[in-house]
Symmetry: C2
Subunit: 188 residues, 2 copies
């Protein structure tokens, strides 16, 4: 169908970081009239693939940067035909709630290895001075920065590594929490 048109528009969007104008789509698809594009766009809007401004400009929707989410590994593997039906999601929106106060940190050391956070991984940290029991936090304790589990049992707080080789840290003079770890990403 027009899946070929969509992929061309998607390419443009990713290359130029904005949606094409009607003239540009015409050039892209080989149309000589903007009206041909206009009618095509109407259909794409009806299908929920793109959106329109109130001023008519195109906005990405399905094609933005979403990845198909195909289900559990163990549950079997969907055929290409099934894929259309499944959910899809935007990585960025999924991982990061507060863009302004989030940042990435590269992990060094193995103190959180039992939580399956390994050296070389990137963690998504969200600035916060408060944490709840069980959170993984980036904190400064006694002048040094580390990533540990935050423990709070009835007001008594300490930091606990996820590695039996290390001991919990009971802060002597103040514990400064800088951020809470909200996610982990790893690339092969």
């Amino acid at each position: 169908m027009d899946t070929h048109y969509i992929s061309k528009i998607t390419s443009f969007y990713h290359a130029h970081k904005r949606m094409p104008t009607y003239s540009e789509i015409a050039a892209l698809l080989g149309f000589r009239s903007k009206n041909a594009v206009y009618k095509l766009v109407q259909k794409l809007v009806d299908e929920g693939i793109v959106d329109k401004d109130k001023s008519g400009r195109l906005l990405p929707r399905r094609l933005e940067s979403e990845l198909p989410l195909l289900g559990l590994v163990k549950a079997g593997f969907p055929s290409p035909a099934e894929e259309e039906l499944r959910d899809s999601m935007n990585l960025e929106d999924f991982l990061i709630e507060k863009k302004e106060s989030s940042y990435l940190l590269e992990v060094d050391g193995d103190s959180m290895i039992d939580a399956h956070i390994a050296k070389g991984d990137l963690v998504i940290a969200e600035r916060s001075e408060k944490a709840s029991d069980g959170d993984i936090v980036i904190a400064e304790v006694d002048g040094e920065w580390t990533m540990k589990y935050f423990r709070d049992r009835g007001g008594k707080v300490w930091l606990e590594p996820a590695n039996k080789q290390y001991k919990p840290i009971y802060p002597t003079e103040g514990l400064r929490i800088a951020a809470i770890v909200k996610g982990v990403i790893r690339k092969y």
Copy 2:
């Protein structure tokens, strides 16, 4: 400085999924003249925060969806002042090389736990029928789908779990590889 302006423009970009026009920026920042915006934009371009089309339209650059990358956890924690200097990156571009052939899978089971891929994690899988020794693959072997290490020693291939409780799988009749795992993401 103009960091306040930038955050307003960033908000618009994330809310509307496109960059604002000059008139819209004027309304956004309380300017009554587009020329004030024009001069402001020139500075932002010089600072490398936004880009311009050849037709003058604004393009996102720094503010797109990039997260600051602040260095190693262990190496200490940068002060807010230092943050400006550090690198930044786009999660989507970083994790996914081939958008068209990538998809997400939720992990079930613990057969890759020693590779620090746990139940509930999402893996980024890239469609491929070939794999190299050491790759983590999604494969169908003897009618069942699993995620395992792919082993290839001189033409003899098998699948190896990252969990001592499970045994390697030596495919009897054909091994069908569907995808190679390119990344792992986990959300707390």
